[in-house]
Subunit: 606 residues, 2 copies
């Protein structure tokens, strides 16, 4: 499909989806599920989905009751269609750096929305280019000559009559991308566009008619929504890995290749240890991340409940964890999907496999909603703070409690590397050691005279690695606790336990240096881990197809010839190829235009 066809198709599909959501008359409780579903379709490239997952929730969360009356129902009923316009050409994750301005004019009681520079052009928001007629625009609020930082404003950007851009608004699509090309990720420039004062979303901060700025009661409230949104990214990471492993595991049972033993038939490629080593850790990660997303959802629910009672405790911890989890899981998912793609050999490179599109979708998760490195550094900042508090005698709790309990000198010995408790303890020791090491290194740099910011920058690689180790240890512990407590059949628990061991042992062998460095694990422990891992690969093998089938992904969702449930890969690869646009004619028109005259001319000269 051409870019235009893709956009049309996406719009049609998005509207169909929104129509269904409305017809089903969904409840508040269902909403989360649907938002997740909508988020999934964004991967497929539908700009209008952002109306549902970003624009409408912003009204819900940031508008006053009066504002909700005006915009929420039209948004929910899709009488207006909106985009969430935050990112600019020159600034993404660093929101404080945004350049769009909203300057209050008390004489008319209006805000003037303006794009003062080229780099202030809003850039990337989904649906902004061609679809939306409204947008919540994040802009630096100026009133009475003072800047109060970024705030959200409701701006009508296209006419409801003829869809033409409103006066002073320049709109367009930002052009083709790696994937998601049905989505009109757009740009917007504002040339002194005037909106009523009441169009500032004022649930928290307010600007009075005379231009007085009124502080929000707590700036922490905004964090809660970020935590929620990042949780959806963890779930998306799990789903990307679930899809990719479903395709690759099924195909690896269809594909036969090479000789394992001379003279015997070619084995299914899933019999090769190297293939298991590629796919099973990704399969285990899909489960691990799914459970991590569950944890986030539960914690977010409980913390939101506490916040309504005025209890903010636990929010900072969960916020820090959510940033790191978003970063870690999406990075592992993107590279894991590509491992699955390559494990399908050449056919993985064809769009028939569905894997290039899955990779493009997973790759987008790494830079969207907070760039992954910046996210991980947020987690690191929290961990360093915790370490300092712990040094000062404070007892840490929750997901960081183990940082207080780090042993000063490791107890080496022949550990039982197939015991989940031993593995969890090893991950926690590693993380605690690395957090301590990074924090001490930073303190050392400052003692040598570096400013705090310089010391931070010169230790940032160590800090990132420490934060990754923390998140990794959380994922392992949460996986282990889930398989021990989840209500399932004991035979299912046994399989999940093997998968959890596999995930943990893989992590240890891949990061062996972190465990060996201070002697916490010995070379013999690593050999034991490596040999247990081989055993787990073999043990998971017979259940691998069941473990991917359990994701319950329909062929219509997978869009993969290789991952078909019925295994009839080759027949359908041939049918799929026949539909290539180049096969519409036996001799392509470009032959007559370019090739024929060239060959004829060359033949004549022979």
């Amino acid at each position: 499909m051409s870019r235009e066809e893709l956009y049309s198709w996406g719009l049609k599909r998005g509207i169909t989806m929104l129509r269904r959501v409305k017809e089903l008359n969904i409840t508040e409780e269902d909403l989360d599920t649907y938002r997740n579903a909508a988020l999934q379709t964004v991967g497929g490239g539908i700009g209008i989905a952002l109306h549902w997952i970003a624009f409408t929730p912003t009204i819900e969360q940031q508008a006053t009751e009066e504002q909700k009356k005006k915009w929420l129902k039209p948004a929910q009923d899709v009488a207006i269609v909106g985009a969430y316009a935050q990112t600019e050409m020159g600034h993404g994750t660093f929101v404080r750096g945004l350049e769009t301005t909203a300057t209050y004019d008390p004489s008319t009681q209006e805000f003037v929305i303006n794009s003062p520079t080229l780099t202030s052009t809003k850039w990337w928001p989904g649906g902004l280019g061609k679809t939306a007629n409204h947008a919540t625009v994040m802009a630096q609020l100026f009133t009475r000559g003072k800047c109060y930082g970024p705030h959200n404003f409701m701006v009508q950007i296209r006419s409801l009559e003829n869809h033409q851009p409103c006066p002073g608004v320049t709109l367009g699509d930002i052009g083709p991308k790696m994937e998601s090309n049905g989505n009109d990720n757009g740009f917007a420039r504002f040339d002194h566009v005037r909106i009523p004062r009441e169009n500032m979303l004022m649930k928290f901060a307010r600007v009075e008619a005379d231009g007085t700025y009124v502080q929000p009661p707590s700036s922490k409230l905004a964090y809660s929504n970020m935590v929620y949104l990042r949780g959806t990214f963890v779930m998306s990471a799990a789903q990307a890995l679930a899809s990719a492993t479903t395709i690759a595991v099924r195909y690896s049972c269809v594909r036969r290749q090479s000789e394992m033993k001379p003279g015997e038939p070619e084995p299914q490629i899933l019999e090769y240890q190297t293939q298991q080593y590629k796919l099973f850790p990704q399969l285990a990660a899909a489960y691990a991340f799914w459970f991590a997303a569950w944890f986030m959802t539960q914690q977010h629910g409980s913390i939101t409940g506490n916040m309504e009672k005025g209890d903010m405790s636990g929010l900072a911890e969960l916020h820090a964890l959510s940033a790191g989890l978003k970063s870690y899981t999406t990075a592992v998912a993107a590279s894991g999907v590509d491992v699955c793609r390559m494990a399908c050999g050449g056919h993985g490179y064809s769009h028939a496999s569905g894997l290039p599109a899955l990779f493009g979708g997973a790759a987008a998760l790494c830079t969207a909603e907070g760039e992954n490195t910046v996210m991980m550094l947020q987690t690191a900042r929290y961990l360093v703070k915790c370490f300092v508090q712990s040094q000062a005698g404070k007892t840490l709790t929750g997901t960081v409690a183990y940082l207080s309990a780090v042993q000063p000198s490791p107890v080496a010995g022949n550990r039982n590397m197939s015991d989940l408790g031993t593995l969890v303890a090893a991950f926690q020791h590693r993380a605690a050691r690395m957090v301590k090491h990074a924090a001490m290194q930073m303190q050392g740099e400052m003692q040598k005279g570096k400013a705090r910011e310089e010391a931070w920058n010169s230790c940032s690689v160590l800090l990132i690695k420490a934060a990754e180790a923390h998140v990794h240890s959380f994922v392992v512990r949460n996986f282990a606790e889930t398989v021990q407590t989840v209500e399932v059949d004991e035979s299912v628990r046994a399989v999940l336990t093997s998968l959890c061991q596999l995930y943990s042992l893989y992590g240890i062998t891949e990061h062996a240096g972190d465990f060996l460095k201070d002697g916490y694990l010995t070379g013999r422990d690593i050999d034991a881990a490596s040999s247990h891992l081989s055993a787990m690969l073999a043990r998971v093998r017979p259940d691998a197809v069941a473990l991917v089938d359990a994701f319950d992904l329909h062929d219509k969702t997978l869009h993969s010839v290789l991952g078909r449930y019925d295994g009839r890969v080759y027949e359908h690869l041939y049918e799929w190829a026949k539909k290539s646009p180049l096969n519409k004619s036996e001799v392509h028109e470009s032959y007559y235009k370019y090739l024929q005259p060239f060959l004829k001319n060359n033949r004549a000269k022979l």
Copy 2:
């Protein structure tokens, strides 16, 4: 561009290129350069380039003098256009498993080319679908009732008059792929197509008129060409990293983000240690792989010379190294290009960056011309053989000499981690230890009663890692030797030495476990490596732009708005976006078709 437009564009560009090559009347010496250039364009997706890099060389190398008279000049003058048809739907790297048959019929002195199964369909060859009118077809040779394995046959597949497929031949395009969509990677099925006996490429093996099969004088001759071809992949890996780092390093000097110190202007993002840690190891790898490709070219030349004198020594070693190098460098390049893409944040995801296409091109290198895991296992097989020979008292030479010299017990101590000799020795110790460990593990499995093939499979993850360590140590040593011996200005040598240290130290910290496991390096050594690495990141920073400019990649080659030589990124991002097909009209036609009626209907119900 639609798939059809892409194909047309590719064909036109490919023909222009071939025309230029002819007009320039290039010499034999120039040929290699041009083939490399052609290989590059394959990344851009031009099927006809395969005529030049695969079809024509096959004639040169595998045809008799008489056959050359018939086909070489027409091929060189592009009076015929050919594809190299080896890979099938069901078999790729495992060439012995190919199913296409060429059965000799002495009664007519013809071969019958046949596709007996669906999976025997030729699948993937570039240019085969719509462009080529000839193909060298790899098929299992049957004569006098016996199969002699895969051989190459010249088959005309389309009419020279009207480009229609020849009788019995079914052709087509295999459909859209991750990248390279201007290339008509094709399929071909043969229904008992008869070709003269003389169409078997008979420089080596022959079939006499009566059907007698005559063995080739040495089966080793074919290896030489494989070594050459894999060398071009190493060069392509280097070029992919060169392009990606050029884009990302330049953009990181244009992009400013966040606050390093409160109140100060936003720094260039290349000032952040985390950004340097992403980009500089890729930059160093580009140089390291370039030097490795040089080594391969020189060695291939010298060994070809020896072979002509009947001396086959060194071929097996170089062949094994070439397989592992192809695997290692292309894998690092593909993931490295993606690191560069993500280091450009959201804009890296836009095709304006040029990085998604570069990634697609690099990713193709991992599964093409021998799947990477299979390639690395070839190297492992050779290393195990060498280890066994070394145990039996044989002194190893060349790139594997160090395997004989592995110290039984490591000498630990505070090593000077900024000394190149120390770093090279550490890499060699690591590789030797891992080869020994994998080989001993395999011997152990066999002693426990496993068949050799089972033992091989159950140790294959260890074997792969050992082979990777061997290749890695080669790349490090070759890099160190090159910077010490290459004739350059001393100031240039100093910069290259820093880059080589950076590359080596990065490898040690990323694989710390391999060096710590037997105590060869200590935790203190790793800390020293890590701190020297930080110092090298800072030292390379001022030269980073010069180091990418030295690749001398023109804007026209890079196709990247972010990587522009003049740094005018944002202006051109805006200009580029305006050209999006969706921006041809202010209101897209799909608005009238889908969105307007939907919104109108919803408004009416409000």
